[in-house]
Symmetry: D2
Subunit: 360 residues, 4 copies
């Protein structure tokens, strides 16, 4: 099988590097184009990562970039023509995405980690296995906007883990409301400059601008119903407090859910464990063996120990308990890898799903 | 005025050291007796802190112990007679407290940081300014147990900050239910061995054994009504998830409250700010200028920046917002110093209050 | 006594804030002018610290700024006239200092934390108590440059602690050579952006650009001999490796010294302990009670426990041992507070010394 | 080929678990016996790892234990008969090793991470590729002690990285003296209780009991000459300061070396890069592709980024510079994985080497 030709735009940044890792030995996609800002254009990817002033090699992933990738020439993202490519992975910030992504989408599918288009009515926020059906709105988007391609963003990394665990509860027991407090990792803030070490050592920062609003809107949209060309957000009350803690990778979330029908701890656990078999059936290369892993050690999940479960693509759940406030409630703690399932690798999973289902 | 003669039992441990700091220049109390386990007995306090094997001086507070304190001889806690003393500050673990504290209480008031007697019906869990009226149950305790002294424990350090902030809301608006997630500091776990560095670096531990149960029971008892010689716990549903984060001191708590009457953000803020004037009126030496400090920087409160507000005796509140789940709800974040107001210095404040009101 | 009128230039940055803390209740100096970049000019100091976009109050010191300081109007550093002031404290970066400081020095003494002029032959790098005699070169500087004022920079914060401990050894035993490895705190890197949290969590960064060269040149100059209007650097071989560790404040340095005459551990300890009585005799407000504090706990000095000794103005030394490589060598570990004695407060101490000795 | 039957003694501890990871899919060895203290005896390995009181599963490695290993019954280390086994991997503490290892060695080769026998004249401290020739002393040991087996300990984890980098310099240029300061990881201290989180957060601990003496003695012995049945320690002066920093895994060491013949930076780099081809030629399963990896990024090596190079079996070197103190000196920084090459996996490498060369 010939591989699909992919571009990574914003290739030198942290998320871009994660795309490189996810794609450099991918069985379906090949890296056909790397694009970044004008400053990097004209250099090889390896040269572009080298800080000219200090000599530092600015590569931030645990995995090593392959030699062939370091030789790929970096192009100017403002000037590339993606018309001949099969898919564009966009790792740029929202303010850049709002300019570039529509240009790319005229000819080519764009899978994006940026928030720029997430809240548009004809744009799905796909989490394969959770709201696959909403992919259909892509046809509406194409028609409405006259694009050959489309824009399909993934959710905010804090939304991802929660919505994956809410989905099986929602389907079986209904959900009345959700209260969530997150303890988010540093890598979610990127590194330009991201979180300054002086601010987080021996500390917690209890506010992440716009995060709570994003989580709230995205969760309801993802759990919403697609019909007649539009998504009706789920009718769930959702309240959260998002905080930053001194953890490298892996968002931890303490979730309190009131269901509609009520459910026992065992039923919830069973719902978590059995979730995701549809997705598994599709045999997508980046899909985790299990969407949700339940850990019965009372001290788990912990971000350092559980973030890499199923190569960072599973959500780990533990501490499932009856809730004392909500009559039909349960509470639990989850850990989700914010830069694997929650970012580039999750976006590649979306591309795999859309390829399997014919959108790419 | 002649000072009241105080014993510190468990004087060599972390909480004992905090008692030393709180008492060594106290205007009302003087350190008349230091007691610890048999191993330390017979040494001076300074010698007892020195690790014989390694030569390390095992003192853990920021404040320096005064020279005169280092010269005080340490006695065997199992054998001391506290009959001639005015008050005993007990910093021992619960399993030791259950043996020693009743012995001491036969003759002398015992203010304790241990949980051993917190849940007894004739024992108050005092937080001056919050449930001062419950001090009256001390008379019941004395009569019932035939003691000249009494046992008066302070709450768990995670309860303290929350109950201080709930009290003004409870009094003005009523409280239907509370959902809370804590991000607790390392010092709350002590150091024998406390939290192992390998377990918490780059990590969150989402479980602290028995903590959630303690917070739940204590909060309802403290907010309860005292009448007819007994405390009726408050009728509030309360659910929490207690986690440990890599922070030295200062518990951070994300609180979601549904009130009964409803309250605006401004009303809640006003309730927080005006709380505690009764206590302030008593002019107790360890009482904070303000019980609750509201910080309007959206990124606050942070444990490292706010734990020492009013010498660690105030609770700092920020991020006060309307809640999206509870119709009459508000949510906020608080920081409370777990080893100042939440431990020894909070216990000394209780002793001050009980002295002012004639119990000591 | 009327106070001396001082300007703080670069007042909104981290070092500038430390100057505010050092000066706001100073018995000799008063804050007569606060200057910063054009962006802050025209606002009150309190307004200038408030981040307009996020609402964060960007104040970074443990100590609180006094209300009167928050009301001081901030002026544009490029346009102020310091002619009527008694002293300028400069907290700007080297590239700005190179422009501004000579302008100020035409009329007014400038005490600077910037490196811009440290290596000029007519500029002293003063550490009061260590090389006070070198202050005389200020007269040369004034004459040569035709300035009424002068520029007097303090050393790099990593130089400070080492040179203070080398001085008594140098005076008594002579020094042949020094090998040093530093483990430096985050605050030394400032916060624009300073060290990114992702880079230092669970990590050591073994390189700080230009730091090793600075330490080497400055140490030799400070220990050098002043005669005939010039400083002859000390004839000492010095080699160091400077690293960054995940510590807030307080540089730790492992020092290996070969003396010329040889010295026992006891002699070295005695030299450390008795050092600094000249300085103490001057009764300068910011001078530590002791320049060097020797801690005989084998596990000390530690940055978190020892950085605040004598309000951060003393250097703590421990682990004094005979060396196995250098025949006449000793080795030890020191901790010095890089943002107190090593920065603004150290600069204020220089100003105090220069005032006492008539230069200001 | 039939696999060699191996015992792991001290199997439930941290080092024991690392042995499990190193052996559970090893091509040459099979886990034939797991032994621990009486408390674990009679349980399956999986049961023994479960904390009965809290329910925590006490497994500390990143790699997951295989299911078949969890089913292996744990035996009482005091009572096992290792006579039928081919090799014993001993992960017990020194005080236990001194009793158990000689008993095992009567019949069976013992590869140990304990220090108990390192300094005996007839015991080698092997680092394959560095002092392989010293393996011959095993024959002396057997003869002298009348054992069929033998005891072969690995060095202290801080010695390992340094001695690997010193060896090529020693062979080519001779070494006069070495000054070293280490910044050691938490995992080197184990977890019973190891380093307490409160002690190391925002801190450096500048002392590790006995560490400096061990590094000194072991380095000279390993670089020593074997002839006539005995090892003559190398004639090198060596001085070090060993500190603990808040890093999970990976010891960082700043090394200053005075050679005898002199060497340029390029020659040193070339010596590092070409080192270890003998070992590579043996095709041992755990041997790294390269013993030493030179990283030319000036900010490297860093423990978090470089500890896992070649699966934690390579030593990474960077910042190679001419030294300013030593006339023929160079200085550099190294990172070595203290619980991979520096512990169990390094011990398995020794066993592989001794098997290849006929001792096992």
């Amino acid at each position: 099988m010939e591989k699909l030709r992919a571009a990574v735009v914003g290739a030198t940044g942290v998320v871009g590097q994660q795309f490189i890792v996810a794609l450099q030995s991918h069985p379906w996609f090949e890296i056909a184009c790397l694009a970044a800002s004008e400053r990097s254009a004209g250099k090889s990817y390896g040269e572009a990562l080298r800080d000219e002033r200090t000599g530092a090699f600015r590569w931030f992933c645990d995995e090593t970039p392959f030699d062939y990738v370091l030789d790929v020439p970096v192009e100017n993202a403002d000037k590339i023509d993606v018309g001949g490519l099969d898919v564009v992975f966009s790792a740029v910030e929202a303010d850049v995405a709002v300019e570039l992504e529509p240009k790319f989408a005229k000819t080519t599918p764009v899978i994006s980690t940026a928030s720029a288009f997430r809240y548009d009515v004809d744009v799905p926020i796909l989490v394969p296995g959770v709201n696959s059906a909403q992919a259909e709105i892509i046809s509406v988007q194409r028609r409405k906007r006259g694009w050959k391609g489309f824009i399909s963003p993934i959710p905010n990394c804090t939304t991802t883990g929660m919505v994956i665990t809410l989905k099986p509860l929602y389907d079986r027991f209904g959900i009345d409301c959700v209260v969530m407090t997150s303890m988010q990792a540093l890598s979610g803030a990127g590194r330009s400059p991201g979180v300054v070490a002086l601010d987080i050592l021996d500390n917690v920062i209890p506010y992440i601008p716009k995060e709570e609003e994003k989580v709230q809107m995205e969760t309801l949209k993802i759990l919403g119903r697609y019909a007649g060309g539009r998504i009706t957000p789920a009718d769930i009350r959702l309240s959260c407090t998002c905080t930053r803690v001194n953890v490298m990778d892996g968002h931890t979330e303490a979730v309190f859910v009131n269901t509609k029908k009520g459910c026992s701890v065992e039923e919830a656990e069973e719902a978590f464990k059995s979730f995701g078999s549809d997705l598994a059936g599709l045999k997508l290369p980046s899909a985790p063996e299990r969407m949700i892993v339940v850990n019965d050690d009372p001290f788990r999940p912990q971000p350092r120990l559980d973030r890499n479960t199923c190569d960072g693509m599973a959500t780990t759940v533990g501490r499932i308990r009856k809730d004392a406030v909500f009559e039909k409630g349960i509470k639990y703690v989850l850990v989700s890898h914010n830069t694997k399932m929650g970012a580039a690798k999750g976006a590649v999973l979306v591309a795999e799903y859309l390829n399997k289902t014919g959108y790419i």
